[in-house]
Amino acid sequence: MKNLKVLFIGILAIIGVLFVSSRQLEKAQGFSGSNTVTIYNWGDYIDPALLKKFEKETGYKVSYETFDSNEAMFTKIQQGGTGYDITIPSEYMIQKMMKADMLVPLDYGKIKGMQHIDSRFLDLDFDPENKYSIPYFWGTLGIIYNDKFVAKQDMQHWDDLWQKGLANNVMLIDGAREVIGLSLNSLGYSLNSLNNKELTQASKKLDSLPTNVKAIVADEIKMYMINEESAVAVSFSGEAAEMLDGNDHLHYVIPSEGSNLWFDNIVIPKTVRNKEGAYAFINFMLKPENAAQNAEYIGYSTPNKEALDLLPKDISQDKQFYPDDSTISHLEVYKDLGPEYLGIYNDLFLEFKMHRK
């Protein structure tokens, strides 16, 4: 019994010491209320050098946290707790957060540099007049193939994923909207379809795909494609950019019949504690030289047209990542489907995953 008491008190003492020392550490690093900007971003989605530069230029301290899905971010911000000043959701999630009254309308009197943003990426359906959000990166969904295993002319459209020679050689991104969407697109329908007949047809078409599907995974696709574990993969353009860096045989195609065009935009959530700092960060990221440095580091497409001019030609003129207007005109942005249809898409996707090889 005495031992137990000693153990108990010991543990409490250790907790106390750790708590005090972590507070001291935070203070020593300068994290104290008003001069901290808390940024909640996707993993590996900013050049770390830029964060340092931001701290140096503005005198703010950056507390940086990451998430791995829009939904995880949404849940965390909804539950409060941490005072995030900045977060970077995708377009459909911005719509959802607007509906849930989780975003602060932007004060354009405090924002400098909006003129640098390409007008094609402003005033879009998900956020008319950009009341809440400012474009950070944009990109597409497409096919990555290895020219050792597949010829260029055989891999230009979604339908090519179904071809006979690819048994057990296609990797798909683990997302209901992406997989159901590519099937809808291949049939010529919108990837935001709310039509049950079209959805049934799309899911029927997917029934014959599993023989070709090797795995339905997420970030691991990068590693597998670079190691030539699989011939073809469906993933996002930014992921593709990293894969292309890692293996010269890989190429990225945006199927011309249609695909997803996505945006990740900077927003200020209602959990904000340091508004001035949040605007300082937005202005910092709008500067063409910073946007260019970030785009070169991450490999996603920048919406900042002046940053584009600063990028090396082999990046800014790469049709794989900066497609021409005719391709862009076939791309669609995800719309918030509403809970009922989101459920239907996910049930269909679950059914697709259940197919045996």
């Binding site: 939904e71 339905i216 679950l350």
Partner: protein, 271 residues
């Protein structure tokens, strides 16, 4: 005096149970009766039992968990038995427990390297002339890795049961003329059954909802109920449906506990 002190010490434990065991289970049960629109409904259960997808998924989960448990048992029993006979028991036991100190994710990633197209297993297969095979994303690799991870949790209770066994029973059995096989089958095995049962519980129950491995090693080509729960909580935000599947899992686990626990009581009474 003693009982009073004991009662005081039990307060944190009771609080813990209430907060982290009873309350979450009640919350899950409560959530499972709430529809997407926030009203009370039985729809989630109706959807679950009317959907061939969910029922097949449940069947798959149980089947995989059963196979994993069976394989783990077949490997662990002899291992625990031999372990109990060795000289430096504690050292060997320690070596078997050691892998549980390594994070599960790290182990899964290690297996990705081992099983991949250019991994060590395929190098070996190539070397002996079989040629590379697709190992990742198959039932085989999923069950193999799951079994590997669960083995220490089966060996431990069996080992303890064997170690606690009174050696005079074995001497008596031998003295009374039983051969080695009879001694094992009629004396040692029945006496170690309690260890086997707790081992089965410790392996089967977590195996029912292994979901990280289904993605990392199974490439989502192996789907269990855990996958569906994750999707409902994270993507569709249909917490009601996710909770319903959770309730089904809890009931399945209770059933396993009852099946493996009931006989224990009867046996004790018979003894």
């Amino acid at each position: 005096m003693m009982t009073k002190a004991r009662r005081v010490y039990s307060i944190p434990y009771v609080l813990w149970l209430l907060l982290f065991v009873i309350a979450p289970v009640l919350l899950i049960v409560y959530q499972s009766f709430i529809g997407m629109d926030g009203s009370y409904t039985l729809d989630n259960y109706k959807t679950y039992f009317a959907s061939s997808t969910y029922l097949r998924m449940t069947f798959n989960s149980v089947l995989y968990a059963f196979l994993i448990t069976l394989i783990v048992l077949v490997i662990s029993y002899p291992a625990a038995y031999i372990l109990n006979k060795t000289k430096h028991k504690q050292l060997w036991l320690m070596l078997i427990i050691l892998p549980t100190w390594v994070n599960l994710l790290l182990k899964a990633y290690a297996f990705i390297g081992i099983f991949s197209m250019h991994g060590s297993v395929n190098h070996f297969l190539e070397f002996i002339g079989i040629g590379p095979k697709q190992l990742l994303f198959t039932d085989f690799s999923f069950i193999f890795v799951a079994a590997y991870i669960e083995i220490p949790f089966m060996i431990m209770p069996i080992f303890n049961a064997l170690e606690e066994m009174n050696p005079s029973f074995i001497s008596a059995s031998v003295d009374l003329g039983a051969n080695a096989w009879q001694t094992f089958w009629q004396v040692i095995f029945p006496l170690s059954l309690n260890g086997v049962k707790s081992g089965v519980q410790a392996v089967f129950i977590p195996s029912l909802s292994l979901f990280m491995l289904t993605r990392l090693i199974g490439g989502n080509r192996v789907i269990t109920l855990g996958t569906a729960i994750e999707e409902h909580f994270m993507v569709t935000q249909n917490w009601g449906m996710g909770s319903t599947i959770g309730v089904v899992l809890i009931i399945a686990m209770l059933a396993i506990m009852l099946v493996t626990g009931e006989k224990k009581k009867k046996r004790r009474r018979a003894n």
